[in-house]
């Protein structure tokens, strides 16, 4: 009896040991296809909107520098800055400029950084394919729909020529940078929006919602429209100078107003002292157009490009 029970304990011990041993054989094999000298890791976190861009940059960069590890997190712009200013990450992705209180947090920890505009996004206002009446909305009309306390719930309230069709609103959740930007540009105050719309942190839910309801209307980043162009109709926006549809060209030359927005990365000066981080940021800056296109964003225009190169030079000088 005692012997069999001892055997029991021993087998149990072996089992748990096996579980540990199994877990240990996963790591180790980082394949290194390239002959690059660089190694180490560059930690990035921040906006989930900018993440695809930085992810593409990280992938392209590691194709040539196999030993550099570049994990990209998506804690949101605010969450990213919190980690960045605590010195926990090297680069922060942001879909809006850094706020004053975040600047203060960075200053308190001695984190020096610089703002790089790396691409543009065109926030797209979309309706269902079944919507045959609307092709263009003015900023005033959008404001009438989305402002806090708005009672608009039928398309005919937006414009007398529109049919009697209930309006169903979909939009990003209040934590997203897209929501912040849209409310700031359309309603004039960041975060000010009517609250009786269907919010979702997942833009695919907005795609589903709008494509499934005849009177639906929603907004999100350009790439979600591009991927779902067969299911959705995009509206032109009249920002005072005529109707303009969101497109790469319109976002680049500034005619898609006011919903074209810049996307940022914030590298820290401290990180640029490390060769692998410097190489990555230089790669990002040098290939920004290729990266933006691959991630389905709008590349920078000539002015923005010059500004980006200058920002890099300035930060390099600061890093020493």
């Amino acid at each position: 009896m005692t012997i069999s029970m001892r055997a029991t304990v021993r087998t149990a011990a072996v089992l748990s040991g096996l579980a540990l041993a199994l877990s240990a054989c996963g790591g180790g094999g980082t394949d290194d296809a390239s002959g690059s000298e660089l190694s180490g890791s560059v930690k990035i976190d921040g906006s989930s909107t900018v993440a695809p861009l930085t992810t593409v940059a990280s992938e392209l960069f590691t194709e040539e520098n196999g030993r550099v590890q570049i994990p990209v997190g998506t804690s949101g712009t605010g969450g990213g800055f919190e980690k960045f200013c605590a010195g926990e990450t090297d680069i922060s992705n942001a879909s809006r400029p850094i706020k004053d209180e975040e600047k203060a947090a960075c200053a308190a920890k001695g984190v020096k950084y610089s703002e790089f505009t790396v691409a543009n996004d065109a926030l797209s206002v979309v309706v269902s394919k079944e919507n045959t009446w609307a092709t263009c909305l003015t900023v005033e009309q959008l404001k009438k729909i989305w402002e806090p306390g708005s009672k608009v719930n039928n398309w005919k309230q937006i414009d007398a020529s529109f049919p009697d069709e209930p309006l169903k609103l979909f939009g990003p959740g209040t934590d997203s940078g897209t929501f912040d930007y849209f409310t700031a540009e359309i309603n004039g105050e960041e975060g000010a929006s009517r609250s009786d719309f269907q919010p979702s942190e997942d833009d695919n839910v907005i795609v589903q919602g709008v494509s499934g309801s005849k009177g639906g209307l929603g907004y999100f980043g350009f790439s979600y429209y591009e991927e779902n162009a067969d299911k959705l109709k995009v509206l032109q926006i009249d920002g005072g100078a005529g109707c303009v549809a969101p497109s790469v060209a319109a976002a680049q030359d500034g005619t898609y107003k006011p919903l074209a927005r810049p996307l940022f990365i914030y590298p820290s000066a401290e990180a640029l002292k490390r060769p692998e981080a410097l190489a990555f940021v230089e790669y990002y800056v040098g290939n920004h157009a290729k990266i933006a296109e691959a991630a389905k964003f709008v590349p920078l225009n000539a002015t923005q490009e010059t500004a980006l190169k200058q920002a890099l030079d300035a930060l390099k000088t600061q890093a020493g």
């Binding site: 029970m5 989930s48 992938e59 392209l60 998506t74 991927e227």
Partner: protein, 297 residues
């Protein structure tokens, strides 16, 4: 030990012959509840399998995530990360949980108020939402102990999260060992420690194993606390040590479902199948351990 009673069915002759009109109705309701639960599982499984079918191939575990090439993307870093996190969580929470249970069952004096308070607290802790543990892990483990956003932090936090479940299950298992076994052992001159180590614990292994697997099954599906603890969404290397960055399957799935490209949605379904597979594998081990070590008194 000669006449072990049948365990699975109580053949009570006094109940067998009677007929009561509510009896079939009640039985029908029970069967319907069971059918509903099974139906949901079947629907869920067939849905994810059909959705993810196109990507349920070696690419999924041989490749790393890729935004550029959806057709090449895989979840190796997430699969390995999940196995690491779960193994480490088990390594932390099993010894601590079992030792706590032994103390509470075998040594603690239940009439003392502090012991009762510890018990009450453990039961309450089992119901605390996981995101609260995430905040705790971030504040105390990642920042307070300065362990950063690493595998170690994630495993320690998940260990805290599932520790109450392990303790409660282990206590139940230890309590189920008949007192006569302990008394016999003590009467033969064994010390309390010898009694526990050689008689009580081996007999409680099936119950403890079941509890541990249930606890780890909860941990494996957790995404909320790990989002706070820095599980990243794009990582193209496996962790090579406990202080590395990592991701886990729930986070990878969550990230893929949010992508605009439809390929990633297929990939997410395929990854769900992998997650379910790991879960089922763990459960099978639990069932095997239970059957292998079950004792009858």
């Amino acid at each position: 030990m000669t006449t072990a009673p049948a365990r699975h069915r109580t053949e009570n002759p006094s109940l067998a012959g009677r007929f009561r009109p509510l009896e079939p109705l009640f039985k029908g309701m029970l069967l319907a509840s069971l059918a509903l639960a099974v139906l949901f599982l079947v629907v869920l499984l067939s849905y994810v399998v059909t959705e993810g079918w196109d990507r349920l191939d070696p690419r999924l575990w041989e490749n790393f995530p890729s935004k550029l090439y959806p057709e090449r993307a895989g979840a190796q870093s997430a699969i390995v990360g999940t196995i690491y996190v779960i193994a480490l969580t088990g390594a932390f929470c099993v010894p601590i949980g079992v030792m706590t249970a032994i103390y509470l069952e075998e040594y603690a004096d239940g009439s003392r108020w502090w012991n009762r308070m510890i018990e009450l607290n453990i039961q309450n802790l089992a119901g605390v939402p996981s995101i609260v543990y995430g905040i705790l892990g971030l504040g105390v483990i990642a920042r307070g102990l300065d362990l950063g956003r690493t595998l170690l932090t994630a495993s320690l936090t998940l260990s805290l999260l599932v520790l109450p479940v392990v303790i409660i299950a282990a206590r139940e298992a230890i309590r189920a060992v008949p007192g006569s076994i302990r008394q016999a052992s003590l009467a033969l001159g064994a010390t309390p420690w010898q009694t526990i180590a050689r008689q009580v614990l081996p007999a409680a292994v099936p119950g403890i194993a079941t509890g541990v697997i249930l606890a780890l099954s909860r941990a494996i599906g957790e995404a909320a606390p790990l989002l706070l603890l820095g599980a990243v969404t794009h990582i193209t290397f496996n962790p090579s040590g406990i202080t590395d960055s990592y991701t886990v399957l729930p986070i990878q799935i969550f990230n893929w479902t949010k992508q605009p490209e439809a390929e990633f949605h297929t990939l997410a379904s395929a990854a769900i199948v992998i997650l379910l597979f790991i879960l089922l594998a763990m459960n099978s081990v639990a069932i095997w351990v239970r059957n292998r070590y079950q004792k009858r008194w």
